[in-house]
Symmetry: C3
Subunit: 666 residues, 3 copies
């Protein structure tokens, strides 16, 4: 790809006639759309009858767009196999946990593990890659679309067999599985892998190991399918490959993107939950570290389907979203979708242009984005997003553990976004990094809500600490083994031993009237908690009231040049928020984190590095305006005037770009 | 039928012994019950073994009742096929959307489209018609019972085949279906009608066209069954035929009643929702225009089943319900049921007489009804209900569209009742008229909540407007095509062009902080909205705040001698109610509607026309008493005294009958 | 069993290695655990392959425990058939009402009525009984585990056949069934028993008789299975046999325990619902009258599974629970479970020892229990629980009627616990007695919430009344026949006639604004109500407002030396509670109940009888402390000091034991 900032939209030319397409291209040019994503549901248009391929329509479209200066991200259309694949073949279809076999008419209805699906997907993908792979307009590829957004783990017979194979590869012998899963419980024990059930109908809950492993199996299989697809494309095209994923889907993104070239994601958070939008940039920048990511789908105004709709964005918010994404590392910012659907089930979804070809309610905002994009493009292209000094561990495997063991209906993503929001409010720049990511350059690592911490992560984090880092672990981290069982050596296994902590016992503190005190704040404690032995040396948080009065819920352990801080419980309420922020603030100061500043709620700084200087993008996300503290004199790049250190104001949904020279670390 | 006012009850003599039946007849006479409805669930009693018919019991009952002055509405018993039909034949049974096949033991468990069901239904109906058709006691017929009250669209294999035939008849070629439904989306495209699925299991929503058309198919099929039944009866009986339907059931009442002789309905609204009771009379009077309708079922006090019950009516309310029904066009007012069930699943349901043969809690109210009936009978019989000058379009097809596309859980009936209540509160007499109804005699037509407006309706309404009528269209009207897709020429298609309106864009206003102003009222706007171009000439409602500030949400377009008023959005809250009422009031005055008067909330006027005079039935429905304004001197028919123009009081649940001479229009 | 107080825990040695087991035994001794329950899920460990039995592990465990002074309750492992039983045999599995066939991996997945299950269960039970029956450590047996806790009525083909047989045995001819169930309704009528469906899929509710009878059938079958198991064990062991049941499970406990030797139950109520804990002791003491019962399972702190958890007990509550149980008739007080599960789905559940072998959050409370147990053991062993003078009828059959006919979502157990709590608050000692229990020794009998009152119970209660007792009947009692139909002679059938009452009509009073007055209190009335004729002689509660103003809702009828008091309605709210308590208080005084005293809310008296003296255990259950009134001088057995009559204080969760000599009745 030529280096530029992309402003794009999903486009479905197969649904419209030539006149409309020509009109669309004209309107795209007027609007500033320089890239479209096409083809991800068009299997039937490409292979209307089994084995009869015709890619000419799409090749023509790609070329025509390119002739008008619009580039293309080409997709494989595998989420929607045509009727010739599905009709009369229930054995090829996705099967729900409750046994319902999916039929034709929506999407993701096929089992992506069925061998015939894999074969047909391979053939259509090869056709597309061969035909479109060398077209100059194709600047990237997207495999399939939103894997596992409507479905999760398939329960079909094909999956059953693959599950047994996967288990055999993982465990070697059935005895080892029995031991790892503790299947003597409730007489579950198996004599062979072929006996291990899928987690289907049962009078009560399944074994946690079974439930979690079936999720990991499913995550591995969809990644394997994605690998296969990417491999085919690479035979015919050098354009980089991605998938439009999300924190919400039933996939392991770290694994899924291992063999892809760049990260992209879809997001439809509304303004009242803007941290759920923002967290994506801080995560996906690190899923493929060093590579720019794409916002592959977001709404111009509101997400909707036949049965629901979100509230529309206020004017100005879309621009704030876009500038935040670009500043935090996005190369592309794309809408779903260009032209409103006239049929299907997403007609009400917002778009750039209506089904009758007119500007929509969000259109003026799209123009604002384009104006901004042009303004910032040279600044973005000459800088790189700054690496944060504080990292938060992100794990889709943890998401699977929480799906199996939800405690009291906890949702992993919601927990994480809440936690993330507290860091954002502190004005500390941060990375979300996958479990397996290197820790170079970080000063503080936070690892909350990860029931199983691999020994590999413990080893890596230990080294990080020994070299001077601070590792803050918890809450809800470390209490489960790889197989989703309870440790039998101590509460938190290897982690506890590495930290040198001593957990007395664990229990759910909700409703138990427990109050903890740390950093001069007292707050209620909740969620499943580890209670530590009180020790003058290590205790940082003390339980003042409740069953464990006098014991400890935060401990601090020196290791080499750094510290491991164990957070055993979840501080709750307003006071709990303050306590958590004080904790992070305390260790961030101790670790000498400098890439931070005061921000008012709803306003953020996105820092980028140039050669010998930094750029701060200061952006108001909540529509209330706000300010940040500038630590050193800078230059406002919009006015080219000097800005003094101190309070820097930013208006409702506005952004400012401040260039700061030679400032250390920022 | 001899002309009289009927006061009746559902009766199940097949469940009781002769002694009880004799006692029942005696009690009916004492109570004033002059008609019973029998037989609708008695198939097993009439044909205990397949092909062994015995109607003698029912013939004897009908004759015995007749001998005691009680007439009979005879039913076909098809909602409850006997065990010989159902046992061992899952292929004959109704199949739920989720695939569950119904079994024996409740009702509506058979697929009414299965050919063997149709055959057996034909045979039993023929037997009944032949045996009972000429009995003097039989004054009417009811086909089946509450079609589609417990079930909606069957998913069985029979229905699948019929669905394919129906589609072929509707679309001719599969290409036309593909085009109409836009099936290229998500690679749904079909090569033949036999490939089109029923809207069963899918990972996400089905194509809107598929979902809506399957409902229309189902509605057509049940009407076709009803037609077949009626045709058989007519061979043997000249008594008029009806069906006890409802706005709630999954039927198209306009179509269903096309080949029936008079309308009847069941209603169990409670007093706190009395407009939901009242709306029925204003609707069913127009489903078979010019024919009196029947309240075929209502409770004496409360509806109930094993799992739930409503609160009992306060004393006096039953009489208010009955007088309102008679005055608004009912010929019959009937209870479900005469004698409390001793078995089954509706034992707790209120009745006239308990299972042990004693008066129930509601009995005194039944006596009040009878007293009232006697009093009003000569007045009712010598007059006819007045046609309203204001009509509201009613569409069960719209109900199907809303079931497919519920926006945010909207319910068509609830929307309509709320809207209706506002007209009632204004004291304007009104008709609810089916989509296909003629518009003669109306001055104002309201068409809210109808996503698809047929070109036929547009044409008819246009003519109505050209002749001087005011057509108020919206909210939520016109945005969808016949196939439940989005228009591609403009937002509202033909309607928009006919009105000469210009929709800029459409979007959901809920939660967007939009304020509209019209008729000197400012109110929040919500629901899916059409925003119109501002135009000094046409704008009546202006958007003061929100994304579309300065644009228009109500426009007015002159056409011939009349106007089309486009209502693009839903005014919300108390202020929204005021705005809607001011809108209706404004155009009602402009259109010179005279059949109206001031009423206090909870009190209504039901106007009837005699020869050279009108009768106003003034009825308090809410138990708080109230008043109406009498526009001209009249005569109180209960006291035979003159009543002066001005405020006319009516007590708690009381009614007054005022005769007014030669008053124009009323 | 040697006479002692047991303090025990559920133990799963099959899940742990020898080293852990040895450590466990050491810790049990330290903790004071003198009995364990083992084996109830260990079928796979005992019969790993079909027909290959090996009980040596368990025999060794039992002997080893015994050598260390720990006795054993041995279980049959039938809730969890191994994979060789379940795999590939869907026909052996439990089938849900919605048709879902259970698979392997949880528990209660087999149909307990399948002949092959019965055979295999017989064989494993015989093996266990033979091998372990004569071991000195085995002091008791538990059949299976928590019958029907996760499942209720199986819908498999085996059950279908047995259902038909059961019906034939019950009704003799299909005509009698048709008549009893009133199946002419909705053409349900059957020609043979093989036609009667199970209550599966239907568009609406099933016939109440069908629904209720299917539950009774299921309850009988599980009891029959339990009988079979017990019979086998008795061939090899003289140790007494029990089952760990609950009020919550879908069983008829009176029937289930008929052929067992002692009662035991599981309970996990939290402190905020402590009456739901307490009610068990007052019930199970009477399920096997004269025999001590066991609390077979309760948590040391909180119940939990992967998906939920309760709040932990406050410190001190566990001891209060235990002393209440022992004082009210328990011989054993046992935890679920000794060592936290490391695998499965109940890892989060509280235990005595963690999975890593350390004391849990609840451990200190377990030590408190043991200290208390030692202190009270001689006092308990030399006394017996006092029989109450007031009894409340308990019926699991009524629970089945409420499941069929829930009125408005009523739950039988919740109704009963609420009612029970009012008696507890009055300080009246009480027994909950099964329907068939003798009434000797009682002065007042309360029979609320029992829709069907058998003529046998009426006869027995009548005799009780004639001999001077007061029978308070209602609310919601007596309105249904044995077949769950409505009476046709009068509202309450035999009961009404026996009482000499006259019910005018019945209806649901909720939301009807009805106010009743009795015992100088006015209160709203609700729930399904019987309204009685007003009669100066018999009326005790008068309806002051509402549809039935001037009629009666409580009546009193002299019969012999006693009275039948009919309570037709449910007094609601705070005033309703006062009225109900005044009613009970009034008749308790009239009947001269002396086994009572004033208690503050949350504090109870558990009275026991010795030879010429009583012991009052005064226990604070709610953690707020409280007092009771001592009617006569006594001796505090903890301090050996005299306590004067009057107010006796008890601290937070504390207990006192007061010995009172020769006090009549107490």
């Amino acid at each position: 790809m030529e280096k530029k900032l992309y402003h794009g939209a999903a486009y479905y030319p197969e649904l419209w006639d030539e006149k409309v397409i020509d009109e669309d291209i004209k309107l795209m040019k007027q609007t500033g759309i320089n890239v479209v994503r096409i083809g991800e549901f068009a299997w039937a248009a490409m292979e209307p009858e089994e084995g009869m391929f015709d890619l000419s329509f799409f090749k023509n479209i790609i070329n025509k767009l390119y002739d008008h200066g619009i580039e293309t991200v080409m997709c494989t259309p595998t989420p929607t196999p045509p009727i010739w694949f599905t009709q009369g073949h229930p054995e090829r279809m996705y099967v729900e946990k409750d046994g319902r076999v999916m039929g034709h008419g929506s999407r993701q209805h096929a089992c992506t593990n069925h061998p015939y699906f894999r074969l047909k997907a391979e053939l259509i993908t090869e056709q597309i890659a061969k035909e479109a792979g060398s077209l100059p307009g194709v600047i990237g590829w997207q495999i399939d679309n939103e894997f596992k957004c409507h479905v999760s783990e398939c329960m079909c017979e094909t999956c059953k067999d693959l599950w047994h194979q996967w288990l055999e590869e993982r465990y070697g012998t059935i005895e080892q599985l029995n031991e790892a899963w503790g299947t003597q419980i409730w007489s579950e024990s198996y004599h062979g892998f072929e006996q291990v059930p899928q987690p289907g109908h049962a009078p009560f809950l399944h074994n946690s190991s079974l439930s979690t492993m079936y999720q990991l199996f499913s995550m591995e299989k969809i990644a394997e399918f994605c690998d296969e697809q990417a491999e085919i494309i690479r035979k015919y095209s050098s354009a980089p490959i991605t998938h439009n994923s999300s924190m919400m889907f039933s996939v392991d993104n770290e694994r899924l993107f291992k063999n892809l070239d760049f990260a992209s994601f879809d997001t439809y958070a509304t303004i009242d939950n803007f941290p759920a939008y923002l967290i994506n940039s801080d995560l996906w920048r690190n899923i493929k570290k060093g590579k720019d990511f794409w916002v592959m789908e977001t709404s111009t105004s509101y997400a909707a389907s036949l049965e629901s709709y979100a509230s529309p964005h206020p004017n100005g918010y879309l621009k704030a979203e876009a500038v935040a994404a670009y500043a935090l590392g996005a190369e592309g910012f794309c809408y779903w979708l260009w032209r409103q659907q006239r049929s299907g089930c997403e007609q009400p979804h917002s778009s750039v242009i209506s089904a009758w070809g007119k500007p929509t309610a969000g259109y003026a905002n799209v123009l604002e984005v384009e104006k901004m994009r042009k303004e910032i493009e040279p600044i973005i292209l000459s800088t790189r997003p700054s690496q944060a000094e504080l990292a938060i561990t992100y794990s889709d495997r943890a998401k699977a553990f929480f799906k199996t063991e939800s405690h009291r209906g906890l949702n992993h993503r919601a927990l994480l976004v809440d936690f993330y929001e507290k860091i954002v409010s502190l004005g500390i720049h941060r990375d979300l990094i996958p479990e397996g990511a290197g820790l170079q350059g970080y000063k503080v690592l936070l690892t909350p809500f990860i029931p199983y911490v691999s020994s590999e992560l413990v080893t890596r984090a230990k080294q990080f600490v020994e070299n001077g880092g601070v590792w803050i672990v918890g809450p809800l981290t470390g209490g489960r083994t790889e197989a989703h069982t309870v440790h039998t050596d101590c509460a938190l296994g290897n982690l506890e031993q590495t930290a040198g902590a001593k957990v007395l016992f664990t229990y759910p503190m909700d409703g138990s009237g427990t109050i903890g005190r740390a950093f001069d704040v007292s707050a209620p404690l909740g969620m499943w908690s580890s209670v530590f032995e009180f020790d003058q040396e290590t205790t940082v948080g003390l339980i003042e009231e409740g069953l464990s009065e006098g014991k400890s819920f935060i401990t601090e352990h020196r290791l080499g040049k750094g510290k491991i801080v164990m957070l055993g419980s979840m501080p709750l309420g307003t006071e709990g928020d303050v306590m958590l922020q004080k904790l992070v603030d305390h260790y961030s100061q101790e670790a000498n984190i400098v890439l931070r500043t005061d921000v008012t709620k709803g306003t953020i700084v996105a820092p980028r590095k140039g050669d010998g200087y930094s750029i701060w993008f200061v952006i108001n996300m909540d529509g209330n305006g706000g300010s940040v503290t500038l630590l050193k004199e800078g230059i406002d790049l919009q006015t080219n005037s000097v800005v003094c250190p101190g309070k820097l104001e930013v208006g409702k949904f506005e952004y400012r770009m401040i260039r700061i020279n030679e400032m250390e670390g920022i």
